[in-house]
Subunit: 232 residues, 2 copies
DNA sequence: CACGGACAGGGTACTCAGTTCCTAGTCACT
DNA sequence: AGTGACTAGGAACTGAGTACCCTGTCCGTG
């Protein structure tokens, strides 16, 4: 009795909706069915969720706010911008891994229902725009800064989602952090300029020269890995 | 009388819808309003368009089919994969530039109407998945081939859309091809492995050695550009 | 010419998501 | 008790999308 004095209506609605969606399908379930099972009025459903789809993604609003606050924190201005948005993306991963059963069930559902896929796209897009806007500010002085920001934001989101889907498809059995680290490292190895903040050590002169030797035919990602390794 | 013996119903519906949407707004216009102006039955509207939103994007189905055929053409197998998907993306640009007035009007409309933005997202996603699936096949033998494919597809789409939006915001006054070339070159310079098909000349030995010299602090994209230039 | 199927278009009635407006209960603070 | 603010419920409405059926026309064949 100490843990659940009153389950809030919002959670009740989410649970009822998920149960009916998985049992009878999304299209076959009406909002009236949900509120009947939850024992609340129909009007209350739309007070908590703007649409039938949004009940499947109940915590994204909060996560988006969290990401915005994270990127607004001036403490992060010292970090490499690409690393920073990578860490911001990891906030989304934490939200998913915070409730693995729910996330896996939702993944199965979303895979089958076009309306839910479309809604999820809109949500992901807002994360991407948040990251892109942050990068645009950080790259304001660069040539092609806006283009660079948009491309990197898209790449980070794609890498994060790739890792997330891999984890979800495994039924939440593999290590999600390792998966996302690998995917994001793949992007940061290409786009990050971590050497920008390198000189803070003081003992490495600014004008060191780095030599990269590559055999003709070497894939570009190997070249990048090599240069990256030397510069670090 | 030689040019327009009968304007097909589909085009009539598109014209009527666009006119009403721009005059009174998307939400304020009902499907009944559209079919009344077009002089057809309501039932016919949904015979040609699956939803009220889709009438704003009447040619994307055809363009997606065109892109799929383009990527299925075995003639392209000799080209660099990233260049290939870049050219596929250019097909979308051509569709937009084929009717600049319509594209600019649609852009203004889509910017203001969330339902249209969401629908456009779904359309763009289908392009991205088409590109990603092509790259997955091309990268099947690579380590992290699927991750690489997803990230590159996202980057190409983001770069293309950046250039497209720049062109649309200019009111279709600037050169769209130059804009897209610049944006895509920005991505291919990083991700392409054009040196893979280099040895076909025959006079450049396979095991040439390339040396890249970079000052510490050089942005990674400069390094890539330099290596790229030498390897070509 | 008669018949019969295939097909493009139209009309009617229905379901259901989402909105608007109104009512009722319930705290909290005087 | 009174009052204001907040939360929930309910009834009625709009409009997108669907199911079903009707109509005309354009084919072929007998």
């Amino acid at each position: 009795m100490t843990s659940a004095p009153k389950p809030p209506m919002r959670d009740t609605l989410v649970a009822a909706a998920l149960q009916l969606f998985t049992e009878h399908g999304f299209e076959q379930t009406t909002v009236d069915d949900i509120v009947a099972l939850a024992g609340v009025g129909r009007r209350s459903f739309f007070r908590y969720f703007p649409s039938k789809e949004s009940v499947v993604f109940p915590d994204h609003e909060g996560c988006l706010r969290e990401m915005t606050e994270f990127l607004a924190d001036p403490e992060g201005d010292a970090a490499d911008p690409v690393d920073r948005v990578g860490d911001a993306a990891r906030l989304v991963l934490r939200m998913y891994t915070g409730d693995p059963e729910f996330s896996v069930r939702r993944y199965e559902l979303t895979r089958q229902v076009p309306a839910l896929r479309s809604h999820e796209l809109s949500v992901v897009r807002r994360y991407e725009r948040t990251l892109a806007n942050y990068l645009r500010a950080r790259f304001a002085a660069r040539p092609d800064g806006r283009l660079r920001a948009d491309v990197i934001a898209a790449a980070v989101v794609a890498a994060h989602n790739h890792a997330l889907r891999t984890w979800l498809r495994s039924g939440a059995t593999i290590d999600p952090d390792a998966e996302v680290d690998r995917a994001l490292q793949y992007v940061t190895a290409t786009w990050s300029d971590r050497e920008d903040r390198e000189p803070e050590g003081g003992d490495a002169p600014d004008d060191d020269v780095v030599v990269m030797v590559a055999r003709r035919g070497t894939p570009m990602w190997r070249v990048v890995q090599g240069v990256q390794g030397v510069l670090e």
